[in-house]
């Protein structure tokens, strides 16, 4: 059985389910849906399970880590991902090292949640994709849902993982619709082939999956059949699934809203080329500039469905 819902509804339902299922779950902050999305009733329904820290990101995130180490299951919504930098010492330098430094005795199963990426007209200081940097932090798991079923399943998986998790969410996914199974698909670390086509493979995550689907539909009209592979997990990246999909296509695009250097896409491309060196591949990343406020400028920087489709057509001409 499945039901069709919006992404924001699926997210609220999944969090509600986890709060109901486990008394140790606590929200350290509330900006997981509101004010970014329509009211979903989550914060009102679980008011006694939500702590509201001041604008003190370092203390907020450290709090989550400490609570996780000592038996709770904290979910820490940081809100706009650019604000993570204030908490960087905790997220990048404490949480991921705890299991390792303790010789495996102590774990910090905390879930950090951010609204990442360009939400349009928020400017350079509210539209970061900092998770690309955190790929280089061993010990942290990074999840990036793209569909209602993803957010449902990955929230379930995050709460069952004994490592610190970063859940990379995107404001512009809120109104995506899709089917959600009755039993969450909690597979972490597997990619999902959302669309099958024999000419070109588009590998993407988060909002870029939705744009890749739009691009694939427009490629259809040009007689180009595109597959779309949704990564879902960025660390550890589902490399086997990607290599397998790549080998079944004559050309591949790696699409990423992060900037090229240090992006998941460039890492994947390098990994794939080691295992499948004859692959014709292209990166479609945000260009190397901050997010501009004006939409005309932003569309020059962040990959659009149009740019994805154009690059796909171009790479096919070459191969």
């Amino acid at each position: 059985m499945t039901s069709t819902v919006t992404y924001w509804q699926a997210r609220a339902a999944a969090l509600g389910r986890e709060l109901d299922a486990d008394a140790r779950v606590v929200l350290v902050g509330g900006y997981v849906s509101a004010p970014f999305n329509p009211p979903d009733g989550l914060l009102e329904g679980y008011a006694d399970r939500v702590l509201w820290p001041p604008i003190s990101e370092a203390a907020q995130c450290g709090f989550g880590i400490g609570a996780a180490m000592s038996g709770l299951r904290p979910f820490v919504p940081i809100g706009t991902s650019s604000f993570m930098f204030y908490a960087w010492p905790q997220i990048a330098n404490e949480a991921p090292n705890i299991r390792y430094l303790s010789g495996g005795l102590v774990t910090a199963p905390v879930v950090f949640h951010v609204m990442a990426g360009a939400r349009r007209s928020s400017g350079a200081q509210h539209e970061h994709m900092p998770q690309a940097m955190l790929q280089n932090v061993p010990g942290l798991r990074i999840l990036a849902p793209a569909t209602p079923a993803d957010i449902d399943g990955l929230i379930h998986a995050a709460f069952r993982c004994d490592d610190p998790v970063l859940l990379v969410d995107h404001v512009l996914l809120a109104n995506a619709t899709g089917e959600v199974p009755d039993n969450p698909d909690a597979t972490m670390g597997r990619a999902d082939l959302l669309r099958q086509g024999g000419d070109v493979l588009i590998v993407a995550y988060s909002l870029m999956v939705q744009r890749a689907l739009v691009a694939a539909a427009s490629l259809d009209t040009q007689g180009i059949e595109a597959s779309v592979l949704n990564l879902r997990t960025l660390a550890p990246v589902p490399i086997d699934d990607v290599v397998h999909a790549v080998q079944n296509h004559p050309a591949t695009l790696f699409v990423d809203e992060a900037r090229g250097p240090g992006s998941t896409a460039s890492y994947l491309m390098a990994r794939v080329l080691e295992q499948a060196p004859s692959t014709v591949a292209r990166l479609v990343c945000s260009k190397q500039a901050p997010s501009p406020f004006a939409e005309e400028l932003l569309d020059e920087i962040v990959p659009t469905a149009e740019r994805i489709a154009l690059t796909a057509a171009a790479v096919l001409r070459e191969s």
């Binding site: 509101a34 004010p35 001041p54 604008i55 400017g123 190397q288 400028l297």
Partner: protein, 210 residues
């Protein structure tokens, strides 16, 4: 969020982000010149606020910190963010002169700012806490929190003061008209401006391309 003037105005979208920048700025300024840093009461709970005030005092920097305290940090009231009553109390901890005033009274703001700026010019950083009323929601378009029901509009209050002082209604109306016309003209100019040039986006990253 990032409106910047061509002469010495910087805006940041990160709560607390401009505080240390104002401090650094003051160290580079010629004698007598000062830096003024505006921020909301939400910034007071960030670590950077405390790092900056400590440094400013330690280095006797010529900075006036102006806190526009409307009792709200983003969507949450001040009482839910701290047990500390006034922002000025923090400044005093770091050995700075500080005042808490009615920020809706523009004449009081001018008087207090002038008083503190004298201290600042002598190398004593200071903090002015202006207690004000939030007249609009956290951001335009946020429908979840209505505007405060009891607007303490500083313009209306000044108009009342001027009226009491004998200013006639026609003069006040003319002032309002002048300002409205200027704003409307600016708006019209902006709307007539062509959209931002898309090739600008990547070119503005560096002043000098390596």
């Amino acid at each position: 969020m990032h409106l910047m003037g061509r002469r010495a105005v910087l805006a940041t979208g990160i709560v607390g982000g401009s505080l240390p920048i104002a401090l650094g700025n003051s160290l580079a300024l010629p004698d007598e010149a000062v830096s003024i840093s505006f921020f909301g009461d939400g910034a007071v709970q960030t670590g950077i606020f405390h790092e900056t005030l400590n440094l400013a005092s330690l280095w006797r920097a010529r900075v006036l910190f102006v806190c526009e305290n409307n009792g709200w940090a983003e969507f949450t009231s001040r009482a839910e963010h701290t047990t500390v009553e006034t922002v000025a109390a923090h400044a005093q901890t770091y050995g700075m002169p500080a005042d808490t005033i009615d920020g809706g009274d523009v004449l009081a703001v001018r008087a207090a700012a002038s008083r503190l700026l004298e201290r600042v010019r002598c190398g004593n950083p200071a903090l002015l806490e202006c207690q004000i009323t939030r007249l609009r929601p956290h951001y335009e378009g946020d429908l979840r929190r209505a505007a405060d029901p009891d607007p303490n509009d500083p313009l209306e209050r000044l108009a009342a003061v001027l009226t009491d002082a004998g200013e006639d209604a026609a003069t006040l109306a003319a002032l309002r008209r002048t300002a409205t016309v200027a704003a409307e003209r600016a708006l019209a100019d902006a709307l007539n401006d062509p959209p931002a040039r898309s090739d600008d986006a990547a070119h503005l990253v560096f002043r000098r391309q390596p």
